[in-house]
Subunit: 193 residues, 2 copies
């Protein structure tokens, strides 16, 4: 898709820096974006990544060309990164990678994200995490309710990470495929439909 | 809510320029953001505005202070601005103001937004527009299906705007209230629940 001034559509800074779409070395975010494009094209689901929230401070409006943002700052997201609709259901998730091979550090998740996921479930939506252990090359679907247990425990002095074994046993392995890359709807089909 | 470096949370450039929250002169976007905050606080719905999509080109990382984006460009949104979950249903809408008193110009809506709204409905979500006639001080809930008719007609040479009278008769008037400002869930309750 072509955008004004030849700008390639790319909401995330990470993906705009890494334009080589080789099979190896793609980030989880890039894999999920491709997956969502596939789901949209195949008319299976409408799920998008939200743009990176940015606080815009200064904009220049040169004559006869596009406005240039000359000063802006990254903001912390108040929700999860991905949401949309699948088979009539509201879908909401966060995707995270870790290099650890033994556990997923809870520092990767922010408190308002957890609060948001709790609200989503309260209102009848489906919420989960997609966690990739980069060095193990394994990706898991991990239900938000499981996350909440570890999160709430941590608040009262519990461990600061979720053990890999726990994610492996209570989560669901998502095989890496050529198309779509991260077929997470397969897990949703088993669990909810 | 306080964010790092004292940055006030404000996803939109418009609202960051207009910090005075007086009753008059607030934009529709500001009114809807306050409405959504109210709905979230009252535990009625989880609906957020998506951040403005920005293509980030250059970032400075000064020592001991926040990363500064020094070059970035506004991108056209590929979806609508607002989405979330209400009573288990996926909600998706776009909000637009017009100064016209006789019609709503279709130029205010982009083609990929219409395509997105069509997909949302196909997948069982609820989609609509909130249209404010600024000079009339009237706000309407206007179902996406009605919009599609005018949109598709326009593609084959039909009129380039939706008459005010049509919006008034097939849409639903949303009264302006103190809290919440734009009580659009009341309309959803009547139509869908």
């Amino acid at each position: 898709m072509k955008y004004p001034h030849g700008v390639r559509r790319s909401n995330s800074f990470a993906s705009s820096r890494n334009q080589s779409y080789s099979n190896r070395g793609m980030t989880l975010e890039e894999d999920i974006n491709l997956t969502n494009e596939y789901y949209l094209t195949m008319n299976l689901a409408v799920i998008h990544k939200k743009p990176t929230p940015v606080q815009i401070v200064n904009v220049n409006y040169p004559k006869r060309s596009a406005a240039v943002i000359t000063e802006a700052y990254f903001q912390q997201a108040s929700t999860t990164d991905y949401n949309g609709v699948y088979r009539g259901k509201y879908i909401d998730f966060e995707a995270k990678e870790t290099r650890s091979t033994t556990s997923f550090p809870l520092a990767n998740v922010h408190e308002h994200q957890v609060r948001h996921m709790k609200s989503v479930i309260k209102h009848g939506g489906i919420s989960f995490m997609i966690i990739r252990f980069t060095n193990l090359q394994e990706t898991y679907f991990y239900g938000a309710n499981n996350l909440f247990q570890y999160w709430d425990d941590q608040q009262v002095g519990g461990r600061k990470s979720i053990p890999y074994d726990e994610i492996k046993s209570t989560g669901y392995f998502i095989p890496f495929k050529y198309q779509p890359r991260v077929p997470y709807l397969d897990i949703l089909n088993k669990l909810y439909f």
